[in-house]
Symmetry: C2
Subunit: 532 residues, 2 copies
């Protein structure tokens, strides 16, 4: 029911994927460590041929104008983009497929879905970009429901109003980032919140999951760009007032932000925007020692110069992304502004990095295209292409996944070492041989970094989900035991619930539970997510 | 029960107040417009002689070690620092005095109070600095309770732990800002969150009320400095995890921040700190036109240079604070840093202001003491002394109060004019003659300013509370009708509840109501505040 059809197994739309050259380079790199050549490559079923269960529900008349129970629609709404999601697709397992998919075009149609589902006790799974890597969009709802449907919000895709003076816009929740940016660009504006999922991600999905954008400091989460939110719950609309700032009670926005579809459907938001940057400076800085590099990052993060990029890649992470020699850590330092040249900012950032032993290998300076060239440019390209790699990795029998967190600086070194060691041990336990665990910082705060771990291990066809689950559980346990968060920006979903419930105060859990009973008394909204 | 005793009628501790010179200058300025010379000056009763009602409760044995029902303790915990608070004190009205005051020294004693009060159905009013200007600490709880006590938290006054590397500290909720800063200073650290109430304000009170600090941009509310919070509710402890950033569900911190004592008692928080600034630049810039000045402020706020000060005073506001000629608006522009010289930042800020017609009268430049000299210095002094003026104003029959809000830039001009006109009309209706209404910006965001209004009118002794109430109601109504917030940083308290309940989404009100039933089932905590 869309012009560009979602891809079933893999990232993006049908036809998207790695180029032949990218795939060759990837397989070459993997073969240094894993037996990718010996594996019979997995092939995913076509969406139309997926082994779907018979629907438990038929589409009611009130929703028939904008709903479909076609095989394609049900299949592509069964999973997100996580490792186990892909594994189940390759295995042709669609046990939890939605009974049908609703594609509302108006808020009235959203309300019609919620009304019907509340009465019929049908679980409703909100679906935006469908990019969840944490089991956020899977209709796995248990036996307490008459059925489960997917609520695809991508037809609510308009920029409704632009306030140039306040640099803000009222935007529907189902719009994808590139479509939104295209409209804003006509006014010289941009939200400049670019998560790695940016090709597919929708505004409402990003707000519901507290997404992390490409700004490494200051405006890290989408939270700060939200001026007001409009959310439809079964018991009514929750719409906050458009305000630059307020001190009137606990923030209603911060209650809706991060609710992951468990409290209501985000149909609209007023978002804070920016002018399009015209001044840029970018450098790649090499460090012999990861922890010394982290100290440089700490100093920059506490200096008040707020670089747009401050991403530190450990030696293995840099190498795996196609640059660096595998021996040195690489720090990408960049500034951007729509208002003023950034020399003074870059000069101070450079000075701090040099003081901490950083070596400026190449570019530096104020080349406005620097962010597209050199190591910074190589990183930018790798970052955007990264989501396309997973389907190939898995098809050749490599278990590969990422997890991310945050921790205060005082704990960082021990935390990093403990989490990395726990993950390495778990890979060996699960696969019988060593794997790789690398780390980068995606976002940095004055009081600590947000480390992002990538691991790979040799999979055994037929057992890869169990192997993955062992590693995931051990890594998640380490994050929580060592004092981190179970997620800095990937969200909670179903996969992180066991650790989320340990992390958040139990009393706050009881508050969320009470809130859900109030807003969604039948408990139909994304059951099992946020509220156990 | 404290070394320095709180003042009953007026700001600060006993002995504090305006100097003779300050009072003479104030009366001189007031006499230009009001008949202050003809009024018989009001005199407040001594705390020990206040007309207190007989207590309805006696102190239970479990709390007797740290509680007092002495006249002084009850009298100074009857009111905050609002206009009607002072008016009632001058009138010797103490109808709502607490039955006794508890001064817990430990969390266990806080829990003992809540346990006893829940069982005895006694209202508990948290009291930190006691600086509320919105009826936040008054034990006015209606007939549904066996009595009401004040819970004075100022004995929980320790900095418990400092993490230099992350620049954070674990601090008890009852510590006052100057005492906290004195401890942090020894480590070269500072929170640098200085509301106008800084002499008296406590950390827990500032978190509970979402206070606004002296930073005019970026880190405006205390919200951003909170790394984690520990709150004791009747149903248990809510303690969030120490994290630099997280995307795990709705923020528990943002639920506790702004709860104004209605959900629990904030006993501790990990706070984000800063290094002490050593680089400073500060200028005062004159504008012939307030709206042109506002445009300059908008441009600076959207430039990404984040000045520490960006306070715009309209002509009347500047004049009333002892500088400016009453014809020109004054903008204070300042930068500060502990890390780097701020010339580049100041240069760009200066350029923007000049482009918008601003005239740099004096200082400018990088004098590290500039924030203490010239107009910027005069403003700094006036700002800190301001809370001492109210008791004198009222004593000579002048109604004087302030209210504050925020609004997006697209609405600012009309909003300002409508709110000002409504307040001016209300003053005339209430007093029979014109008063003054002036405006300044206390905080500024890329999407809008936080305007702060000050009004004065001729009071009629014996009727000043009713006169004030008429003006307050009309002004508050204008704020809400015109799209603003009922408070940007003064909090909700009892005074703002009628407009707060219009402002916040009704569905969010039902969530807060459900949360309170969960955490405080007997409804003893600060009844009537946040949850109606």
């Amino acid at each position: 029911m869309a012009d560009r059809r979602l891809k079933l197994c893999g990232w993006g739309f049908e036809g998207d994927g790695l180029s032949a050259d990218e795939e060759t380079a990837l397989l070459q790199r993997l073969s240094e460590r894993f037996n990718v050549a010996e594996v019979e490559r997995l092939v995913a079923p076509a969406a139309e041929d997926a082994a779907l269960p018979k629907p438990k529900l038929s589409i009611p008349a009130a929703l028939s104008d904008f709903s479909s129970d076609g095989a394609y629609d049900r299949a592509v709404h069964t999973y997100g983009k996580s490792f186990p999601d892909y594994a189940y697709i390759y295995d042709d397992v669609f046990t939890n497929a939605p009974d049908f998919v609703a594609y509302p075009r108006t808020e009235a149609e959203v309300e019609a879905v919620l009304d019907w589902a509340t009465g019929a006790r049908v679980a409703v799974i909100p679906f935006g970009g469908g990019t969840s890597v944490v089991g956020g969009v899977e209709p796995m709802v248990g036996d307490g429901f008459a059925g489960a449907i997917s609520l695809d919000l991508t037809r609510l895709d308009q920029v409704l109003e632009i306030d140039r003076s306040s640099r803000a816009a009222r935007i529907q929740g189902g719009i994808r980032v590139p479509d939104m940016e295209a409209v804003l660009k006509r006014e010289g504006l941009t939200m400049r919140h670019f998560p790695q999922s940016l090709e597919m991600a929708t505004l409402g999905g990003m707000i519901a999951t507290r997404s992390g954008g490409h700004f490494a400091t200051l405006y890290t989460h989408i939270d700060d760009f939200v001026e007001s939110v409009r959310m439809i719950a079964p018991q009514g609309v929750m719409e906050s007032r458009r305000l630059p700032g307020s001190g009137a009670g606990p923030s209603p926005d911060r209650f809706m932000i991060g609710s992951e579809g468990s409290m209501g459907i985000i149909t609209e938001a007023w978002m804070r925007l920016q002018d399009r940057p015209t001044f840029r400076a970018s450098s790649a800085i090499l460090f012999d020692d990861f922890y010394k590099a982290a100290e440089a990052v700490r100093a920059v993060s506490q200096s008040g110069i707020f670089p747009s990029n401050l991403r530190l890649l450990d030696a293995g992470e840099a190498y795996n992304n196609g640059f660096g020699d595998g021996q040195q850590s690489v720090l990408i330092l960049a500034f951007e502004s729509a208002d003023h040249p950034v020399e003074a900012w870059m000069a101070r950032g450079t000075e701090i990095c040099r003081d901490h032993g950083g070596i400026f290998e190449d570019e530096a300076g104020n080349d406005p295209e620097a962010h597209r060239s050199g190591k910074a440019g190589a990183w930018r390209t790798a970052f955007i292409r990264m989501p396309h790699y997973r389907e190939v990795l898995m098809s050749v029998g490599v278990i590969g996944d990422t997890f991310e967190t945050s921790i205060t600086w005082d704990r960082f070194r021990e935390f990093h070492d403990e989490v990395k060691a726990a993950t390495q041990s778990a890979i060996e336990e699960a696969t019988g041989q060593p794997g790789t665990v690398t780390c980068r910082f995606t976002h940095v705060y004055p009081d600590g970094p947000a480390p992002y771990f990538t691991f790979q291990g040799q999979g055994r066809p037929g057992a890869m989900i169990e192997q993955w689950r062992h590693i995931k559980e051990k890594a998640s346990e380490a994050l929580i035991v060592q004092g981190g968060t179970i997620t800095h920006h990937h969200a909670v979903g179903r996969d992180h619930m066991p650790w989320y419930t340990q992390q958040r105060p139990e009393t706050f859990g009881s508050v969320l539970d009470a809130a859900k009973r109030q807003l969604d008394p039948a408990g139909i909204l994304n059951p099992g997510v946020i509220v156990p």
